[in-house]
Symmetry: C2
DNA sequence: CCCGAATGGATACAGTCGTATCCTAACGCT
DNA sequence: AGCGTTAGGATACGACTGTATCCATTCGGG
């Protein structure tokens, strides 16, 4: 039984067990022994593949970031039929707000990590790269959309993107706490996108006759 | 030294010590012994005035809610010179995003409580009353503003308020993580309020000539 | 005056935590 | 075939947790 084990595979297994616990019972409930039990292995195995708990936690955060990134790209590609800037924006924002059980669990874990990072500098750095990258990416797209005439010239792309991302984060909070359904959150996002892209009754017409 | 102690005062002291720890080092760092040390008393005193840790945590959440409420009312009253609906909205939203050291610490503690509440039903109920009350209050005000002609008739007050509160929460997250300054967050809020109240160049004029 | 309640110091207890150590079993390689 | 490395089971250690208990003060009211 020894020898011939895929270390990366083992680490992936343990990281997934960690995220399952963090998503259902919070980071407080994450201990080396709990991870071992969740993964169906002994405590020694967890210790064998991760030098210490800190490394395990960082691995969890990295995996969580990768999942978010994958989800965003997946939804953006699914909406590729309509390559409109609005479609991209809607896909990305829709991928942030949890829409199924798995993304709900991941958002829970993400929230737990976020609040831990506020008082743990080791996690803070790793947790900020993804949001910043998203913000820059969307700002580029929206600026291009503005130059193409898809949104009004007096809109500020940077502010709009910052606002929309903050909106999506805030809505995620309310969805996680059961205050609002996923559908209600999506409606609010659409409401704002409608106004940004000029589908309100007195707004900017992207393609005047 | 015994006798003649104000129990409420003692509990307030301990609760403040708890919130100081939660705001600076997170809820994870909150233990009975740490609270005792922070408050400058012995462990026994903490046990004497709170039956268990759970009661202490709930007291912290209650106090945090009271502080938020106080801040909102204070800022709303300070902006009472201009009784405009926009002034009220700006004051409330501005009170949510941390604007000084104390409100930053409280927001930190609030975030810690929020994420703990996601996996601890005992805290969940108490944590939701304040946001819901705020949302209802603001929706009433905005509906009245709409009937008075201060915002366009095609706006949906419920959606607008839900969006603005989610926006303020999301901005709070980014301010706490150092991603954005308080001023930058305020500008984004103002940007959205400008559009809602018709100060954009092609928008609704609240008082046409 | 003094007795009983209020207040809090000191210490103990049973768990759980992250981490370290000891030891055995199984495989690849020469 | 046997040797050394790899993989993991079992267990221990010291620190820390919430909670409980024992005991000494000190005061108000009879």
């Amino acid at each position: 039984m020894p020898r011939q084990v895929d270390h990366d595979e083992r680490r992936r297994l343990l990281t997934e067990a960690l995220l399952r616990i963090a998503g259902t019972r919070g980071l407080r409930a994450v201990s080396m022994r709990e991870i071992a039990a969740e993964a169906g292995v002994s405590l020694r195995v967890v210790q064998y593949y991760f030098a210490n708990k800190q490394a395990l936690l960082e691995s969890g955060l990295t995996e969580l970031g990768a999942r978010m990134d994958r989800r965003v790209k997946q939804r953006a590609a699914a909406a590729a039929g309509e390559l409109t800037p609005r479609g991209v924006l809607a896909a990305v924002l829709g991928a942030i707000v949890p829409f199924d059980e798995q993304s709900r669990l991941d958002s829970m874990a993400w929230t737990a990590y976020y609040s831990a990072a506020l008082t743990d500098p080791a996690l803070a750095a790793a947790g900020l790269t993804l949001p910043n990258a998203l913000e820059n990416f969307l700002t580029l797209r929206l600026t291009a959309a503005q130059q193409a005439g898809d949104i009004a010239p007096d809109r500020d792309p940077r502010t709009e993107v910052a606002g929309l991302l903050a909106l999506a984060n805030g809505l995620t909070s309310s969805v996680l706490s059961g205050q609002r359904s996923h559908e209600a959150a999506t409606e609010i996002i659409d409401y704002y996108l409608d106004r940004l892209f000029g589908r309100d009754h007195r707004g900017f017409d992207p393609h005047p006759p």
